[in-house]
């Protein structure tokens, strides 16, 4: 079931990205100029943050399987800090864009930018809520988190990584 959800999400973002690339072929100069207004450094840092949090989440699953719940909980907290850092940097980037008057209806590039990154941000927030809940329940006596729960939560978090790995170059680098 989880894999089906993951593929539906990938398909939805995939269509959005193909749409972005298609409109980019129609107005290449506009897309190039708009892309130059994006902060590549912030985008790169956010990519690194998500990759590192993906690694810590994978390590948390491994620690949980080997029976080290405390270590798993600690690693999940680091993952959540990564998620919070991603949100903070993204919020700063949005603040910067809005301050420069670069809003959703400015042009087609920014329509895609706000829709795709905004939709992705919602997924990161949902992923953080799932991970926070699991981290809270990991040592619970009643209905504790089991390995399948944790693997599913981790898979959702990695899906956010996967989507960003296609979003980042499409929006920040190639036009």
């Amino acid at each position: 079931m989880l894999w089906i959800i993951i593929f539906l999400e990938l398909g939805t973002f995939g269509l959005g990205l193909v749409g972005l690339a298609y409109y980019g072929t129609l107005t290449p100069a506009l897309f190039h100029d708009a892309r130059l207004h994006l902060n590549t450094l912030l985008g790169t840092i956010n990519t690194l943050v998500l990759l590192i949090s993906g690694y810590t989440m994978a390590s948390a699953v491994e620690a949980f399987r080997s029976g080290s719940n405390t270590k798993a909980k600690g690693l999940m907290k680091i993952t959540l800090i990564g998620g919070a850092l991603f949100l903070a940097l993204k919020s700063y980037e949005y603040y910067e864009k809005l301050g420069s008057g670069l809003e959703m209806w400015d042009n087609m590039f920014y329509t895609f930018y706000w829709l795709l990154t905004g939709f992705h941000l919602v997924h990161v927030v949902v992923g953080m809520v799932i991970l926070a809940y699991m981290s809270f329940k990991i040592n619970a006596v009643k209905s504790p988190t089991d390995a399948l729960d944790l693997e599913s939560g981790a898979a959702f978090w990695h899906m956010c990584d996967l989507i960003w790995l296609l979003l980042f170059p499409s929006l920040y680098l190639i036009f």
């Binding site: 590549t40 994978a58 390590s59 899906m159 990584d161 499409s170």
Partner: protein
């Protein structure tokens, strides 16, 4: 296992820095750059899916589907851009 994931993380970080640097340095010099950047993005996509997401332990159907979806999306975007 732990070591493999650490190596994967370092490769992912290296590829991210490489693409970000290349996009800024060679943006106007080569027409193939978008395709190269999206090719590297596809490699990163597969590394995260197989190493972190543990797709390597999933059924063959999901392995093939993920590979086809990730690579085709990256290729299509790279070609169009």
């Amino acid at each position: 296992m732990k070591n493999t994931q650490q190596v994967t993380l370092f490769i992912l970080i290296g590829l991210t820095l490489l693409t970000a640097g290349a996009a800024n340095l060679f943006a106007d010099k080569t027409a193939f750059l978008p395709l190269i950047i999206m090719g590297i993005a596809a490699i990163k996509f597969l590394l995260v899916a197989f190493q972190f997401m543990e797709l390597k332990k999933a059924h063959r159907f999901w392995k093939i589907l993920t590979t086809v979806v990730g690579v085709s999306l990256a290729f299509l975007i790279g070609i169009l851009a």
